[in-house]
Amino acid sequence: MTTNDALLSVENLVVEYPVGRGRKVHAVSDVSFDVQAGETLGVVGESGCGKSTAGKAIVQLPRPTSGSVLFEGTDLVKLDGDQLRRFRPRLQMIFQDPVSSLNPRRRVEDIVGDPLSVWSAELESSVASKQERKAKVAEVLEAVGLDPVSAAGRRPHEFSGGQCQRISIARALVLEPKVLICDEPVSALDVSIQAQIINLLEAMKARFSLTLVFISHDLAVVRNISDRVAVMYLGKLCELAPSDVLYRTPAHPYTAALLASIPEPDPAIVPSTTGRLTGELPSSIDPPSGCRFRTRCPRAEERCAAEEPVLREVATGQRVACHFPLVEARPAAPANVASQQSA
């Protein structure tokens, strides 16, 4: 399943949260995917489907229940605390709420500069002196579109939500990470500011050769920024495909239902109620047998309750976990090695 040149390979990831009386939330259940160096992988799905949990498990905060997370070939799950520490700066995460994720009492210069002292032993390029650190902080602040001179001495509450998100991006970039995991980084922002941050992430990705995992429930945002998209439902991976393929020809009935719900900013398109999801999301403590989507799936048959569908390829690079996908697998083609590679 894994190609060797993947920067990050998540294999059979399982995360369960105990909730008392022997019961547990199946937040992420046997999820596998690769992220190639330099690509942006989008992760979409409804609230509670396990997107954040998967993102946090990649950076081992907290450690997953089982499975492996290979970063440049090293399984982070198997590392002890000290060994893991060396990898931390390389995998950074930014969160949805830019304001609460910044320490309100500290000045921007310190918020962005602190990681440099905390991780000084683990960093490849050393920024030992105070001068060097200051210069590095100024460089990333400048890069995220803040004026280092006027911003450095101010505190988070003096900034808008969009500017706070720029500060958290700067704080992550200062460590020169390889992978940036963005958990709903624009969901709390106004559309106009959202666009600023998306454009900024695209620019930073190019400038610092980043690999992004971009988690969001906003399908339009995800298509815009991602090379490939993973769709999750109730802890499971349903579909994984190059974004333009996924949005043009979704193979999983759940993907199709998600796409049918996107509001179109065009008055000529009358919202049609066909293809809408009905019913409620089942509990992730006691998920349905077989295919977890079957209780809401318009294509469900008996087999879906009995047998869990496995992820299989139906078109180049498009993999789907469904017994009756909307895109039928082509007759077996000669082993195709490049299938993982995004366009």
């Binding site: 579109g145 998306i198 945002v221 008055p267 919202p271 409620e280």
Partner: protein, 365 residues
């Protein structure tokens, strides 16, 4: 566009228009430690019975304060609101709390962004619905319960009899919002204010709730004011749209006209900044640089000038009035409107002068 209204694309026969709501020169200010904040600054509009008006704008543009000022649901302290609000034959400004309570819930109802703010967390949802039915419509307890079941099932809640006994925290966000809609609809209002009713919800649930509002509105020929920051939400679901910026309506038009003939650079910018699911990935977005004005001390002239790619010296000291466009019902406030020779020239001059705002960068401060 014809008068026959087209809510959510359903053509209806011509009905004589009846003005349900008239708002004139509404102005709402708050006393804040930094000085007087003018959240709604001279807003006027009309709404006919049965129609849907979308109100869009960035956060802080005054959408919520406008809705609350129309409903007269403002904080008792520190808020001052003047102007005229005529609703269904009542002059709302100056009514006592007691008189207002007779109107709220019966003729005028509301649904807010966070359903928890309008639900009582310590009360079973059944009682929350029946309370209103008994108070406003004088129903008996059993009549009210019967009606509550009908209401819950009409808003798509499965096994409504069982749900009557649930507390709000036992429901998902989507179900909770359905309950607040059921409560809002309970007494058959003529106008429903929906302030960001789906902003806190998933896309799938958002679509269900918007479908529900549209269906209920059609069935009850109720008027609706749908407040949102997302032009995508209102595009297919409103008859008219008012765009707010810095406490003012800066453009208003029948929905199709607004999209086809937008005149205000802010409307254009708002639309351009939305990522679209039908565009290929990595399509650059046209971000609006900077951020909305501070309503304690807004900039002189046009409030959008510091962020406007069309802005000329005149815009920075002379405020453009809201004026009529050639298409009926279309108004906008701009000196150099989009799609006109003046606008094109202004844009070109800025380009030549090199002051075109770079969308990839933000303006600090």
């Amino acid at each position: 566009m014809s008068r026959g209204h087209t809510t959510a694309g359903h053509e209806y026969p011509e009905i004589p228009a009846e003005t349900l709501l008239t708002v004139e020169d509404l102005r709402t200010t708050f006393d804040t430690p930094r000085g007087k904040l003018t959240a709604v600054d001279g807003v006027s509009f009309e709404l006919e019975a049965g129609r849907t008006l979308g109100v869009v704008g960035e956060s802080g543009s005054g959408k919520t304060v406008l809705s609350r000022s129309v409903m007269r649901l403002l904080p008792k302290r520190g808020a001052t609101s003047t102007g005229r609000v005529r609703f269904n034959g009542h002059e709302m400004v100056g009514l006592t709390q007691k008189q207002l309570r007779g109107i709220w819930g019966t003729e005028l109802a509301m649904v807010f962004q966070d359903p928890m703010t309008s639900l009582n967390p310590t009360m079973r949802i059944g009682n929350q619905i029946t309370e209103s039915l008994r108070y406003h419509l004088g129903m008996s307890s059993s009549e009210a319960t019967e009606h509550a079941v009908v209401l819950l099932s009409s808003v798509g809640i499965p096994t409504p009899e069982r749900r009557l006994h649930d507390y709000p925290h036992q429901l998902s966000g989507g179900l909770r919002q359905r309950v607040t809609i059921a409560i809002a609809l309970a007494c058959g209002p003529r106008l429903l204010f929906a302030d960001e009713p789906t902003t806190a919800l998933d896309v799938t649930v958002q679509a269900q709730i918007l479908d529900l509002l549209a269906a209920q509105q059609r069935e009850r020929s109720m008027a609706m004011i749908l407040v949102t920051h997302d032009l995508g939400v209102v595009a297919g679901r409103t008859d008219d749209i008012a765009v707010m910026y810095g406490g003012k309506i800066v453009e208003q038009a029948p929905t199709k006209t607004l999209f086809a003939e937008m005149r205000m650079p802010y409307t254009e910018a708002l639309l351009g900044s939305i990522p679209r699911a039908d565009q290929p990935s990595h399509t650059p977005l046209q971000a609006i640089p900077g951020r909305p004005p501070d309503l304690v001390s807004p900039p002189p002239g046009c409030r959008f000038a510091p962020r406007c790619p069309y802005a000329q010296p005149r815009c920075r000291h002379e405020e453009p009035p809201l004026r009529e466009a050639p298409t009926k019902g279309h108004r906008f406030a701009c000196w150099f409107p989009v799609g006109t020779p003046e606008g094109r020239q202004a844009l070109e001059e800025n380009r030549v002068r090199g002051v075109a705002l770079d969308p990839a960068r933000s303006v600090t401060t």
